[in-house]
Symmetry: C2
Amino acid sequence: MSNPQILLKARPAGRPGPEHFEFVESAMPAPGRGEVLLRHRFLSLDPYMRGRMDDTASYAAPVALGGVMEGECVAEVLESQHDGFAPGDWVRGARGWQGFSAAHGSSLVKIPKDGGGVSHSAYLGVLGMPGTTAWVGVTEIGRPKPGDVFVVSAASGAVGGVAGQIARKYGCRVIGIAGGPEKCRYVKDVLGFDDCLDHRGDLPAALDAACPDGIDVYFENVGGPVQEAVLPRMRAFGRIAFCGSVATYNTRPLPPGPNLSILTRRKLTLQGFIVSDHPLAWPVWRERGAAWLRDGSLKFKEDVVEGLQNAPDAFVGLLEGKNFGKLVIKI
Amino acid sequence: MSNPQILLKARPAGRPGPEHFEFVESAMPAPGRGEVLLRHRFLSLDPYMRGRMDDTASYAAPVALGGVMEGECVAEVLESQHDGFAPGDWVRGARGWQGFSAAHGSSLVKIPKDGGGVSHSAYLGVLGMPGTTAWVGVTEIGRPKPGDVFVVSAASGAVGGVAGQIARKYGCRVIGIAGGPEKCRYVKDVLGFDDCLDHRGDLPAALDAACPDGIDVYFENVGGPVQEAVLPRMRAFGRIAFCGSVATYNTRPLPPGPNLSILTRRKLTLQGFIVSDHPLAWPVWRERGAAWLRDGSLKFKEDVVEGLQNAPDAFVGLLEGKNFGKLVIKI
């Protein structure tokens, strides 16, 4: 038996392609003391991984050239040399784009063997990093109030879809922004947003119509022209939670942004955040999100691609909005 | 006797000039019940007034065409129909670019007849709106910690000079940015900043040398290329207090700004503010600033121009950084 892996072969200057990845079959890992041998069942693909392909300082170190691409996995324990784990347990951990790994038990979080009422892969999405990101971004950064107008971009995505549903629970009027009529319909009809605007249309006009009195909270996932359309429509004392800017992850050099003098005139607060800086939020969200999934008030959608070897293509598509729902690789 | 006034004659498209102002001699105002007749002794000129000349929505209504230009004054009471004021009292109030006015007593703040150890005009600067702006921007928005690297632009100006001195009291390393060697020397030698960089030189390189580990707090007064140089040098969890952006007040349309994806990567907070939203800070600063002036630990400089008729030229110069110290008109 061998361990399939996807390595970072070269650093992309803009859009990544097959030439930046390498699929290899490596030797099976052997667990040491305190470690477990994992069989990875699902791999999460998320936009932040594009940043890890660059060799520039960011909030986390880049993936080394020739190193295994980083990513969260849901995995099954095959062997254990750690008291807390037994074969057959299911766990989540940052185990990378590969089929197997040996991991110290302390780096893993157990998840219910039977999924606890949701799919195992949900622990990579709605109950994982993206869901927790939405929880932190809304509750700690955007801090909406009942009656606020809350706008979220990439609204059908893994983070945006959850963010908007949390804002609905605050009593906000929630307006999504998504790409194309199918995603917009899903955001309105399934996720229950008050409205969803197609950024492929005339977004400034659509925002004026949907938010005639302006926007109190904007949950920013995309940057680019969507950001440019939203900023001048922010209301006095508005907050923008800067979660990401997937629209420009492949753009080098980075394009200019909006003029910021409006920050003073409107007394706006723009705040960037990274979910890993908020460790205490994870267990809170895991519990609250799970309860809302059980009572049916929280919806999610997965876009499952089969086969580790398809991860690079799926990832490139993710950066271009081609996925529909949380993108996971079934290994 | 007549009342000299400067009116807004036309709205400038970019840089204001003499053609946008009109000097007139009007009838003397007559105070009604609860009002006092004021003889204005000093008029404050501040960059925010450029915004009031535009006919666009901002945090305050624009000056009407043909209306008296707005501004804070220090004035002497000539007559009083208000129990709280007597002839000979000195007050501060938003009384406009004119020689006299009739004002309700409730709109005025008394200042010491003898100045209380500082010039009367100081109540328009270090102890007035600009000083309070610095106090709010540092204490409530920038929230520095001892050991932080604190950068402030327009460091020799009415707000920046006070902001940096307050940050020094927090135990920050304070780096000013100013235009030209004379201003930079003043900021270092008189105001006691740790360093002051000339933005007319190679500012990115100067910032790298002065702040090799990055910047924790930036007090933003100017926008433009200075902002562009500072933003990429912000340290993780840094804060930017957006007080103003005088570098682009005359620029139409507004130029683009920096790409904002760095907000997420560095977990930055950018917050705009207007001092009038913080009414409780005014008396606090008046007391604390006065104490620091008395003990010699707070310095300020005034640029006094004689004659109301010279206010338009002085104001245009202010927007171009030609003043040196807090600009006031002696009427």
